[in-house]
Symmetry: C3
Subunit: 341 residues, 3 copies
């Protein structure tokens, strides 16, 4: 991790939950360095230690204001003006694909020192968002204030979003802690997946309206739209994010990874392709020994859960993940201890 | 149909509607045999006799509790432990594709006698769901109680879902007749299309939350989410399902098949691909002689329907499907009778 | 433009907004000629003069009743009966692809004189809808009354939809100014993208229900569903449509085109494909000199906008598009004038 990014990201562990806080005062602007550091942290996680990640802000009352406009301005200087005027999206897609290829060869750090660094930053954002959407750990964004542009996209790439219900003190407007993609007002469009996540979450009509208007919506509206999972008071933000993260950290990581893959990749593919993808994910999670343990335990108590005297309170321990231990390796340990007895 | 499945499925006909009831006491667990039988019934339907199918439960207060966990446990024993631990979803997708190929050669019944039968069951589920989503008959699920896991997926694969609004007597919790995908609590994920249908119906954010939490939602919530078409009292369940089915049985089967295909396959493809798919479906339905009859009749009365004295009550017989006869072959008969006169 | 289409379409300009009104009394039925004329107008637009298009009706109290049933009836006579009875959608998709190819060679006007003209009309609709969804101008439908079938599809292909909240005088039923796809009642399915737009906007469950039932929904319901952007009184229809269009006409056209492409094409592709598409669109809009100007101006005032004394009122001029001039070429003029000083 570069010197800069290490101080821009603070990590803290509570049990099987890792809390990553972004700290780039005063406005918590997102930068290429922050995303590089975040990607390194996400890639280094081990399912045996970490079952969930909470993504938070170390700046009070601000989640992430937006992506650094200075860096976008530099990106705009990528090409000389006479070339820039004739650039079509497919040319840039080609350049970005080349950059992705070079990054596989480990050349991204070199590219980041050339005028092409804008491409590296753009791909760096996409990789970080992809990691959030694909790691076997559940990710929870704790949104303590405004999440505009790149901040909105980072939150939307997490699995769950808990958001404060009140604007920061001293600001009257509820959009002081709003969420949205206002890039259009600078003549830009979202670049970290905003158009894609909004279209899939809300459909093309609402996505077009939000992106073309640059609307910033309040937490309350975001909850109504289904853009956030939960709206809580400022005091309840971290406790609530931690409660979800702790429950999710008890899930079978193979199943978590499979669900995330099925929803994001399968769910955006033609139906028959998505169904096959789900079958593969179902298979890998069913082959995990801990899942076999859970099924055996469930079958032994099926009459209590489904019978005429069924009590959904019994189901609560299953839902909380306390009925069985899904930590990888626990099934073998359980079997070994049984043998000793 | 195997001896087992024939007793697991009861069929009854009312006019052009076929009612298929699943009966596997006490919890109406779904099994490979039931799905095999259901697929056979769906494949044997003739548009001239059958215009709609109602999928119901023969067990009171339970639609389908879930897929048989015993069979899933067997699936988990598909591979020896040392292989299972290193299985990636793409390996399973490959095996499943091979199984699909073998089934075209008529080898599925043989496979179902080997340890590979788990693959045959998984593909069997997908085929049954695909039939529900593609046959030229409209399918209506009459959900009389809980529809968890595989039961939820079967209901979501139908075109319409009518659900009871009250939990079974003696159970306080409304989730006693809830719907959802709780596979995650056993360390599993949905395997019959649940992640795919929920993502497409609700978007990735809600789909992730429901699948990662294993949430069971009440009928009322399901209606709000748009997961079910109608919420009715226990007495009104079958009458309401039949009313919809009878109206739908009067539709042009070519148009029904085209709409189902356009929505499911076209609607999950890139837009330009989906548009072309719709054009093809539009063409085939417009070429049906019964559609030509209907258009001619409509044109002769267009001023009553669209003019200043238009009365939408006149439109009701069109909406009910009683204004024209779309039964395949009826146009030829009509023409013949006209000639005789 | 053919003699017919020139009188069927009226155009009027207000500043950078072009208003196109369809006039085909008495019911404003859509025809191949109208769509041909509309496509020609849309293709001829220049971003330097036109920033937004309002699509309106020149018939009072009727937006577009539906597509001409006479033309669809002719389409149904495309093939001799013995061929029609055995037509599969893929055959028609093949014929339509050939027609698309011939149209590239400029042969569509010829085809429109043969019995194959139905194919030309169907592809003509798709091209017109594609233009509405891809031109760098924002399109706003001003829906002053019923928009059924092809009228609904044309409105759904626009970026924004403003609709009147009251039925025409003398009609009691609110569906007098409703919206929907009732093709099924004539044994048909939507052919101008209705199944595709509804599935993407509402998900497969609601899309199936609306298309299989042929439901016509009121403006109020349409707003609740998210099918329309705004519901206004009859007097406020054009003023409101113009307000949106004028604001949108001040956007960066490169960004508008990119957002429309990302939402429609990217948003219906597998997520990774869509993300790459967005990156390309982000790049082209960031390379526009006007965007660079806007970013520079924003950076100079960032503390006022994001700081503790931030006032979202300051943000309003950015949202209105009055803070910077995005008209193509304006950045160069600005630079030239600075040099002179």
């Amino acid at each position: 991790m570069s010197k800069e990014s290490s101080s821009l990201l603070q990590t803290r562990r509570e049990g099987r939950v890792l809390i990553v806080s972004i700290k780039n005062p005063p406005y918590n602007l997102l930068t290429g360095d922050i995303l590089l550091g975040l990607a390194r942290i996400l890639r280094s996680l081990d399912v045996r230690d970490t079952g969930a990640v909470v993504l938070a802000s170390a700046i009070s009352d601000v989640f992430i204001s937006h992506y650094s406009v200075d860096e976008i301005l530099e990106f705009g200087e990528l090409l000389p003006p006479f070339l820039a005027a004739n650039t079509h999206p497919w040319m840039l897609r080609g350049l970005l694909a080349v950059e992705t290829g070079l990054s596989y060869l480990g050349l991204r750090p070199l590219l980041r020192m050339t005028p092409l660094k804008g491409l590296a930053h753009l791909n760096g954002y996409a990789e970080c968002a992809h990691l959030l959407r694909s790691i076997p750990q559940v990710t929870v964004a704790a949104v303590n204030g405004r999440a505009f542009g790149g901040g909105c996209e980072l939150a939307l790439s997490c699995d769950f979003r808990v958001m404060v219900d009140t604007p920061p003190e001293g600001t009257a407007d509820s959009r002081g802690c709003g969420i949205g993609q206002p890039e259009i007002v600078l003549g830009l469009i979202p670049g970290g997946g905003g158009t894609q996540m909004l279209t899939r979450m809300l459909g093309p009509a609402q996505a077009l309206e939000l992106c073309l208007e640059g609307t910033l919506i309040s937490g309350e509206e975001a909850l109504k739209y289904g853009l956030i999972t939960k709206l809580v008071s400022r005091e309840q933000l971290m406790p609530e994010a931690m409660t979800i993260a702790e429950r999710m950290a008890r899930r079978n990581p193979a199943a978590v990874a499979a669900i995330k893959d099925c929803v994001h990749t399968g769910g955006s593919s033609p139906l028959a392709v998505g169904i096959r993808r789900e079958q593969g994910g179902f298979g890998t999670s069913a082959l995990v020994p801990e899942a076999a343990n859970a099924m055996t335990k469930y079958l032994s108590g099926i009459d209590e859960l489904l019978g005429p005297k069924s009590n959904l309170a019994d189901f609560q321990s299953w839902k909380d993940g306390t009925a069985v231990d899904f930590t990888p390796g626990s099934a073998r340990k359980l079997q070994a201890s049984k043998k000793q007895v």
